[in-house]
Every structure is written in C-alpha cells, then in structure tokens.
Amino acid sequence: MPRAPDSAVPRPCLSLRDVSKSFPGVRALNRIGLELHPGQVTALVGENGAGKSTLVKILTGIYQPDEGAIELDGAPISLPTAHAALDQGITAIHQETVLFDELSVAENIFLGHAPRTRIGLIDWRRLRAEASSLLQAMGAPIHPDMRLKDLSIANKHLVAVARALSIEARIVIMDEPTAALSHKEIEELFVLIDMLKQDGKAILFISHKFDEIFRVADRYTVFRDGEMVASGMMRDTSQAELVRMMVGRSVEHVFPKQDVTPGETVLTVKGLTHPTEFEDISFDLRRGEILGFYGLVGAGRTETMQALFGITRTSAGTVTLDGKPALAKNPAHAVDMGIVYVPEDRGRQGAVIGLPIFQNISLPSLRNTSRAGFLHIANELALARKYSERLDLRAAALDQDVGTLSGGNQQKVVIGKWLATRPRVIILDEPTKGIDIGSKAAVHAFMSELAAEGLCVIMVSSELPEIMGMSDRVIVMREGRIAGEFDRSGLNAETLVRTAAGIEGEAA
C-alpha cells in the first residue's frame, strides 16, 4: 500500500453509493454518495438533522443501511458490527470521546489489540513501550500509565488519535472534535490532522465551524435533508457558497404561523449573566409574540432558558415580568409567576414516566384541582381531558402510563401540563426534536394558536426552517452571547447561519 498518494488525483479509498436509511416517519439518508481519499481531509457540512450522524453510525457499524453499497478500495464491504468497522480500519473520534475513564492511557490505546506474549498473555512491557513511542511521535505530553479520567478533553482526543494510529486505521472520522477544545488545543489538533494526512489516512471531518473547515479540509461534501447536494474541492468554493448549499431548501414545509401584532412588553431580561455559560443576555418579549432563539449546540441557549426557569443560577442581571422583578429562585417559583419551560430532554426532564397521563397533566396544577391539599381525581381527569383534546392527543386512556406514548404524544402531554397552569410565558426548548412529522405539525399549529391568544412564546430551535417559519423575531446566540437579532421581515437563512457560526464580512 502506498504511504502517500502517487498521482494528483488519488483514487478514493472509501466510497458510498446510493446509501439510504429510514427510521419510522423519517428518511434520514436518501441515496447519498460520499468519497474519502487517502491523505486528504473531507469536510462534511450540513444543518442539524441533515443526516451527518446517521452516516457516521453507518460507517462505524452501528446502523445498517437499508440499501446502497460501501466500497473499500473498490471492493464492496459490509459493516455489520462496530468491531467489523474496526477490522476494516475505520475508526471515529467523537465530540465526547468514547474511551474508558478507569483504564490507563496505554490500555485505552491498545484495548482489543494489545501485544501478546508467546503464551497469550498481554505483554505489558511492550504495550507501555509502544504506547509511549506512539505518544512521543505525536508530541503528546501524556504518560502512558496515567488514568484516562485524569486527562483534559484535548488530551483524551490525543489518546483517541493514538489509538487510531495504533490500529493502523485507514479511515478516521472526526465528529465535531473541536466542540469542547480551546483555541490552542484546536491548533494542536490540526497539527495532528496534518500528521495523519502525511501518513496517508483518509479523514472525514465534521464541524459546524467554517473557519476550521477552511483551515484543514481539502474536499467538501454537503448534506441537506438526508441528501447529498454537492461535493468538490475546498479551493473552488467559498464560505458564502457553502452556506447557500447547506440551507437552500428543496421542499418548503408550510408553517401555520398566523400574523399577529405583538402587544405590550411582558418580559424584560437585562444583562443576564452566568459565570461560564452565558453573558449579558438582554431582550424584551411582547404579548402574542413568538421569539426564536437560534444558535449552534453549546451556544448557551438552553442554559439561559433554564436560568429564566430557576434551574441555572445567575451571577448578574435582572428579569422583570409585567414590570415586577421575576428572577426565578427555583422552578416552583417560576411556575408561580407564570413562566413555564418545556425541556429538550423530554424523557428525563419533561414527562414523569411511570405516572399516568392525567397525573402528568395535573402535576403542576394540583393546587387548583385539589381541595385543601386533598386530591380530587374527577377534577384532574376533567383538566387532563380538556388539554388532551385541545392538543389532539392520541392515547388509549387517560390513566395510561405516559411512557407508553410516542415521543410526539409525550410532548403534547408536557405542553398540556404547562398550559393547564395558564402561564404568561412559555419557553419551548427544541419542541419538535425527534418527534414524527404529524405531531410536529400539531405542535407548530398549537404554538401559533397560543401566541394568537396572547401568550408569549420563546422557542429555542436548531432547525432553520422551524426558526424561520415560526418566529416573529429571532435572536442568534454564539458562545454565550447574543450575536444578532432579526425581525421576521429581515429573516434570511444564510445570515442566520453566518451569525451563529461567526462568519464575518462577505455579502450573502
């Protein structure tokens, strides 16, 4: 095998042809193609939900494609298990590295392929020596005997890279490897990527940050809505063009947004600051308005919202509701003031799995359905019936465990639970993430209806069409700060993406 490409146009070592993958209600990948070349970095770009993670899972043997072919050096291969992917020389480095905290660095590097003595025992001396020389060759300041859990995230990445080198991987997938790294650490990672390139590895680099992509990638492939829409050489494209290819829509989803004229200001947030997660967040929210919060994962949107709901503690700033101070001390306090929050993590934070539907809906309203602290089941059932009918809930009975419902219907229960408290402000965090199309449309229609009735809605979403289709106004957050604010009339997908990613200048 040649260590470096001989010709100017090297042949791809891994290629995917017409690969499709469907999940109930969603076609995650639709006949996509992808080529990876030895000694080159291919950047995979696309919005959230474009199918990038599904592709990574197929390449690492976690998902099986429904159709299509994967070829390694022109020969078709199959990757039925994660181990099969490793055997074919495909390895992945994830955002949060999947290694073993309690094992040593050397053990992590050689887990599953440790050097053996003649009688089949692990040759610890050779294992340590080889790990040590690998790390030295990478210039990594890590001792092979250290426990993995004592390393920084950046150094854990280095261990993952060392592991990739040790199994003589030919294809290295990097799934947002820089998300948790500092600038200096990112630079060090880029040096390593150059090393891997020199070594003839084919690298698939996934990132939302355009400056990084332009810094390391040789080629690009753009995914949108599960389809491959473009690919080519980095030197032939620009940031503006990439963004355009990413967001250009083939099918426009129709959003049921009603036109409303927002009324008086209800909620005012001034200079809200958290020691690490967000800083100087200020905005107004008006009656009947849907305010969208857009940004990359980790921009601090969820933390800001949870601060308004009394879960995250703030270090500075004020919140006023109807002119009165309203910085929530805890969720119970927030609910009392009329600020409610539909969390992103539905299964863990939203629905109380194990309790029946009607008890979930009545849970924050018990004070109103009960008499002097004693439960009144008929009142609870009536309340649950009212909101489940309004939200068009699909369930067999109101005493059914909420955990037996589909994700979309669970979300309806969580929303219903809050509406039953008659809130002033409802915060929805990724309200349609992971729910089927039908429920999605129902949730959107309902949000619009609520706003028209005078409720204030804050919607955190990473899905551009949803943000653009539903919001009256959009605030974009980046690295814990507000990076821009746009009116419905001034909304433009490219501007939003550029603001969220921090791309300066360049007209769209």
């Binding site: 709901f309 879960i311 805890n330 969720p331 119970a332 927030a334 609910v335 009392d336 929050y341 969390p343 863990r348 934070q349 939203g350 629905a351 109380v352 799995i353 194990g354 309790l355 009607f358 008890q359 849970l363 924050p364 018990l366 004070r367 009960s370 602290g373 004693f374 439960l375 059932l381 019936r385 489940s388 009918e389 809930l393 369930a395 067999a396 009975a397 109101l398 005493d399 059914q400 639970k417």
Partner: protein, 334 residues
C-alpha cells in the same frame, strides 16, 4: 391535501374498571397468601384460633409495621432510611434518662416522640439540604444514634418505668384489642390518606418515578424529602415509646436489626425498592403476613434462626412469583 373532517375521539378515563384493576393487583395476591397462611396455621396448631393468642400475635409486628408505613413513603420517593432502629434506641435512651429525673408517663412519651422527630430532621437536613445519598447518610446515622446510646448506657440498662407508662405497650383498649394494634390501624388510615389522597402523596410518587421531571414540574423536591425523613423519625419515636413500654426497660441493643425487617415488610407489600410505586394497603397486609408467619412458626416451636430463613425465602418467592407467572404466560403464547 384533503380536509379530514374533525371527529371528536373521546379518550376514556380508564382502560379498565377500578374493580378489575383491584382484582389483578399485588394487594389481592397478598390477601390470598395471608388467608392461606391463616388456614395453614389454624390446621397446624390447636392453640392458634384463640382470640387471646391472636391478639398476642399482633404485638411482635405492630411496632415495626408503624415504621413501615413511613418507610414505604420514603422508599417510594426513591430514598431509604436505615437509621430507624437506632432512632428507637436513642429515643428509648432519652426516655430512660428523663426517667432518672422523675418524668411522668405523658412526658416520657413526648420525649421519645420528639427525639424521633429530631433524628429524622437531622437525616432530612443531610439528605435534602446537602444533597447526600440517603443510603450513606442513614448508614452513618445508624451507627451515630446507637453509638450515643452505648456511650450513655454502657452495659447498663434503664429500668423502673411507671406502671401507667407500661400501658402504651401492654394495655388493651377493649377486650383483646390492644392499644398498639388500634394505634397501628389508625396510623395506617392516616398514611393511606397522606400517600394516596393528598397533593403531598402525589409529589412523592412523581419524585420516585422521575426526580428531575418532578423538579422541572415545579415540585419542591427538597422540602418533600425533608418531610419524609421527619415522618420516619416520628414513627420510629412512636415505636420507641411502644417498645420501651412493652419491655419495661432500655438497653442500647434495643430493636437491633429491625431496619432490615422493616424494609423487608415494605418490599413484600409491593413497594418497588427502586421507588415510584407501591401502596399503604400492601404494606399493611404484608405486616399481617409476617406477623402470622412468625407467630405460627412460634406455636410450632420452630427456633428463631429457622424463622428468619423462612421469612427470607418467603420474600424471594413472593417477589419471584409474578416474574415466573409472566414467563410461563409468554412461553405459552409462543
């Protein structure tokens, strides 16, 4: 897109009638087991079916059962309190100490109950205030509370409780009906209402099923948990009064090992050890089952060691039974 006419699809309140649910419940199974043991006992010993011996039988479980009522709520909330037996020892020691200064019966009882509440509040502060895991906290206070009793008493014992104090543990309200059993049944009703009929009880179930979602629903988790530990402390204080009055003395080893019997009673009663489900009715029936079994074996002169083996086997069998039944049903369905 064609417009689908809106059809109102009423969702029923319940999948099946409350009676059908009750017939299939764990409590119903426990009642069947209790009746079977009752019949077996009456066949095995001619002395069993006597009002006075049946009344005697209740004394060996009522004190534990009173604590089991509060323990059931703590376990449903996803926590546990292993310090209850040591709270009995400390409360009893406090009463014995007060006795030296000539306290009368009502004062002694009040001291026992207050010490129980204070111990429970201490556990509650550590668990809900500092957010420590309750299993660790109460293993710690288990040693702490009983350790204090040992320091105060050494190898001595407090004796000489007044005659009217003894009534709490030995007295009869009417004919064969003891004060202890009346108190237990009254508390069972109070705890039934508290767990199954109040907002507080609903919060306990919500926390036990999903503490994070309960918090995100505006439930004050820490407050609820604090109250729960005060309740186990309170019931342990009451049990301490009853037991001390029944024995007429305080030794530092009083009630040792009870915490495990109480947890066994709660689990046998159908409370999930993982939290989130269970009922007071189940715990009450389980208390009677354990009383019947130990008393029946006692009538047959079975030694104590064998009794504990029997209780252990019974616990495993009763827990395994529904699992085995489901497996058999599945196998038949295939």
């Amino acid at each position: 897109m064609t417009q689908i006419p809106h059809i109102s699809r009423a969702i029923p309140d319940r999948l099946e009638s409350p009676l059908a649910t009750a017939l299939k419940s764990w409590e119903m199974l426990l009642i069947v087991v209790a009746i079977a043991i009752f019949i077996a006992n009456s066949l095995a010993s001619p002395y069993f079916l006597n009002p006075w011996s049946l009344s005697d039988a209740t004394f060996n479980f009522t004190e534990k059962a009173i604590i089991a009522l509060a323990m059931a709520m703590v376990i449903i909330s996803g926590e546990i309190d292993l310090s209850v037996a040591s709270i009995i020892a400390l409360a009893s020691t406090a009463m014995g100490f007060a006795l030296q200064f000539g306290a009368d019966a009502p004062t002694l009882a009040a001291i026992g109950i207050l010490v129980g509440i204070a111990c429970g509040a201490f556990n509650g502060l550590l668990v809900s205030g500092l957010g420590l895991p309750s299993i660790v906290v109460t293993i710690g206070t288990m040693s702490l509370f009983r350790g204090i009793s040992y320091i105060v008493l050494g190898d001595q014992a407090f004796r000489g409780y007044p005659r009217d104090f003894a009534w709490f543990g030995q007295g009869y309200v009417w004919w064969v009906v003891s004060f202890e059993i009346v108190l237990f049944l009254a508390l069972a009703i109070v705890f039934y209402v508290l767990l199954h009929r109040t907002n507080f009880g609903r919060a306990v179930f919500a926390i036990g099923n999903n503490p994070l979602a309960a918090q995100f629903s505006g439930i004050r988790i820490r407050r609820v948990k604090f109250v729960l530990f005060v309740l186990t402390g309170l019931t342990a204080g009451i049990a301490s009064v009853l037991l001390t009055a029944r024995l007429g003395s305080t030794r530092p080893s009083i009630a040792s090992g009870w915490e495990l019997e109480i947890v066994t009673m709660v689990v046998l009663g159908g409370v999930s050890i993982l939290g989130g489900s269970g009922s007071i009715a189940g715990v009450v029936i389980a208390a009677f089952i354990m009383g019947l079994v130990t008393f029946g074996l006692g009538l047959l002169n079975v030694p104590g060691i064998v009794m504990s083996i029997f209780v252990g086997v019974m616990l495993i069998v009763v827990i395994a039974l529904p699992v085995v039944a489901r497996r058999l049903r599945e196998r038949r369905a295939v």
